[in-house]
Subunit: 504 residues, 2 copies
């Protein structure tokens, strides 16, 4: 491996103050210059990608999203990029053989969450560059941070290394899916394709580019994620003839059963009277309590995320059960949930309307922790409802997967730690993300690979209006797009180095 | 009183087979001819009225609706017609002094229910004339049957009598409100105006024109109606800072309370586990059981409304609690209800969306029976929720009124019976309507007047798409618009006659 010269480190220090000492990256300053040269093209590429939102729930821009993703991979130097059909939206499988010893798996999502332009300050598909108070220049658009921004930075890193005629320090295997926002309904089919499975099996692990840098420049390492299972409960004329097939005059409730009340009664059994503790029979059977190490990590992480700041960001005045902050965080990372995403029945406009609704629907989701599984959760739900006679309540599982966990001593994680330490970046290790991504597909059988999220960049508003990703930071401790790109460059070299060490 | 000649009765028999013997109406055949002459203008007037929907919940066509109502009254021969402002939509108060001994009160509603044109086969404001299978020519539009059709027929009756230079057999006091569909929120203010109260106090009672003729030509007399109180329950960031102010990422439910679950928990306490028996503390305290006479009336009425036909019309396969038909009808007329009109929280589109909603709302309504009152029901609800600690659940009462009841031996009802008997029309007497109208305003203190619904015409789809009112019936036993108009003519003479008898 070529070692960087001191002169170039000095240049890098000036150009990119945030990542002053990336010990493993050769000719770093040259790559920095390339990243800067390609900056405008990278922003343009991100804007173009934002302009083409693929939304699986609405079947929007399919198959265009996969084709676009395929082209993005080819443009970034992948020698092969194939569209892999599934029973849902297609995935993209791409390989970049650099002749390296080590292969790294990368997971992308090319889909985005639904959006309502009327709730946004600027149009969610325009990717406008907007000055954000106390942050800097940001790009605003659906998918900006979740995940097109971080993914674009990663692709820019690949391009920058190659632009100078260098080989990547690792080979890359990329799998990109289009159904992440509907709980990766068919992603297991992608990984089951022999060619894909074989390629991934050679990797030291898989990560998804993310934006996890805090306002103060500190970073996170995340050792896994909760699983998520989305489902809908429906009651009405379509599930039993004791309910009307359409909305009828409400006076009839004196002689006709109400789908809405039936739904309320079914829902009521799913959580305890405190309004949050899951009450599905046997729910906690396989829930592993936090280890002492996990609790220690949570307590350390809390120091980097002051309580008042967290409350302000979330717009709340107290935690669940009025818990103290640390306990609320332990609950956040350790507890499986049964959440209501939405309720809809009958009349939903202003005021009232004297109808007996013919249909009532609740949209729910489970968040699962180790060692729960998707199948277990679904079976328990169905058994719970059946035992209580709710055979007129239709359960539709619209997607989901189990939790994932990765060892602190894996190459993926060790390289992250080293990057932060070499650059003097404060970081916390979270035992897991309370959010979800389908890492279990890599983490579970048959691949059993380390799986993680990684990215040294910043953004916010995922799944919300005015989603943003930082392009040019006003704070030298916080990364903009180019610094985030360089962090991926450095990370790739560190992964190669850690793998080398591991096999020494 | 002038007696009709036999010759003219014969003409009437031919022209209007349905009402062959209206013993009290003088020169009846001449009036029939006038009704027929004005038929096209009456239909046009109904179409014009349908084209101007006043919807209180949406503040649509206000004040135009009241001004239009005022003009309709003046056109029908009322000598005075005033707009009476309220804290909500204005009402119209009109008087027609015919120099008669007897004064009759009439209640109109000039507002209509909300509508969604996409759910209709023809536009709800066009008032298209559409052939309806097995019924005849109908007018289709929002308000067609509820209540513009029947009210137009009543106004046409006034016009027809006057068109021949005759005086009406009774003086008329009309009060028309614009908030019936939002539970007559401010109607008590109208009746409290001294001039209005004084005029109404002189009347023998008040009725609302309605369309109650069945498919087989039979009719109903209704001795009152349930009360209705509409209210909304809201939980969210706007009611407590333990909830987020907007929708946030659903992973946060592991540490933040859910407005949607809280709403479910509050709702769950309002009805028993059967999904329909109200469980509000003290709810049944003032509920009067049905008398033997009321049960007898229900059983007799059931004969005119076969069970299979009723089920088909409602689109259901069984009654509440799997009750037999007669028991389901007793329940229908006697039981107060707590109904969910609508539920809305978080994401309501297709599939799911991983959010924790910042707000959850349930739209509900009570139906009240004698001797419950609105105030009692509201206080019991509030006490019930307070006792269980639901102080973060905001209750908004958007309107309502108590039940009403009228004596079988009042002039209003006796005149109805006589009309049906004289014309050989089978009829049932319902102890009350399971629907609601604010008759309590007339029925309760200080007026204490008989209050009823009356109309010998046919229609359907109130509060639903494709609302219709019969214009030309294919069945000689069932009334179209002109026959319905003549039934009002005959009724006015019968009311005068009954009042005369009563004071003999």
């Amino acid at each position: 491996m070529v070692r960087r010269s001191s002169r170039l480190v000095a240049v890098a220090l000036i150009a990119l103050a945030v990542v002053p000492v990336a010990a493993e990256t050769p000719d770093r300053a040259e790559i920095v210059l390339t990243v800067e040269e390609q900056h405008d093209a990278t922003v343009k590429s991100l804007q173009d990608w934002i302009a083409l939102p693929t939304i699986a729930a609405e079947k929007l821009n399919t198959p265009q999203g996969a084709e676009y993703m395929q082209q993005l991979a080819l443009d970034a130097g992948f020698q092969t990029a194939k569209i892999i059909p599934t029973d849902g939206l297609p995935a993209v499988f791409a390989t970049l053989d650099a002749g390296a010893e080590t292969t790294l798996g990368i997971y992308f999502m090319y889909d985005v969450k639904q959006f309502d332009p009327s709730e946004w300050d600027s149009h969610p598909l325009e990717g406008n560059l907007v000055e954000r108070h106390d942050e800097g220049l940001t790009i605003v658009g659906r998918g900006a941070v979740n995940q097109k921004g971080p993914q674009t930075a990663f692709l820019a890193a690949l391009k920058a290394i190659q632009a100078s005629g260098r080989q990547l320090p690792v080979n890359i295997v990329l799998v990109a899916e289009g159904e992440e926002e509907i709980a990766s309904t068919h992603f297991d089919q992608v990984v089951a394709v022999p060619e894909v499975q074989e390629a991934l099996a050679k990797s030291i692990g898989v990560f998804i580019p993310s934006a996890a840098q805090s306002k103060d420049g500190s970073a996170n390492i995340t050792l896994g994620a909760k699983g998520a299972v989305e489902f809908q409960l429906v009651v009405g004329g379509e599930t039993s003839d004791k309910y009307p097939k359409t909305d009828i005059h409400s006076s009839n409730h004196a002689r006709i059963e109400s789908p809405a009340w039936r739904l309320v009664k079914a829902l009521d059994t799913l959580v305890a009277d405190d309004g949050h503790t899951p009450a599905i029979d046997g729910w906690f059977e396989n829930v592993r309590p936090l280890t002492d190490r996990q609790k220690q990590l949570i307590a350390e992480g809390a120091k980097l995320n002051p309580e008042d700041q967290a409350k302000e960001l979330l717009g709340i005045g107290s935690w669940i059960d009025d818990l103290p902050y640390i306990t609320s965080l332990e609950r956040f990372y350790s507890q499986p949930t049964v959440n209501i995403q939405g309720l809809v029945a009958g009349y939903t406009g202003p005021g009232g309307k004297t109808i007996l609704p013919g249909r009532a629907e609740a949209k729910l989701e489970f968040r699962l922790v180790p060692a729960m599984t998707k199948d277990e959760a679904v079976k328990k739900l169905e058994a719970h409802l059946a035992k209580r006679g709710f055979d007129d309540v239709q359960v539709t599982i619209s997607g989901g997967y189990g939790p994932n966990e990765t060892d602190e001593d894996s190459i993926l994680i060790k390289a992250q730690k080293r990057l932060f330490e070499q650059n003097g970046i404060a970081y916390s290790i979270r035992p897991r993300s309370a959010g979800s991504w389908p890492g279990v597909i890599f983490n579970g059988a048959p691949l059993n690979l380390p799986a993680s999220q990684f990215g040294l960049s910043r953004g916010g508003g995922a799944h919300a209006p005015n989603e943003w990703f930082l392009i040019e930071s006003t704070d030298p401790k916080v990364n903009g797009l180019d610094e985030a790109t360089m962090a991926y460059v450095d990370y790739l070299y560190l992964v190669a180095k850690e793998a080398e060490r591991g096999t020494d």
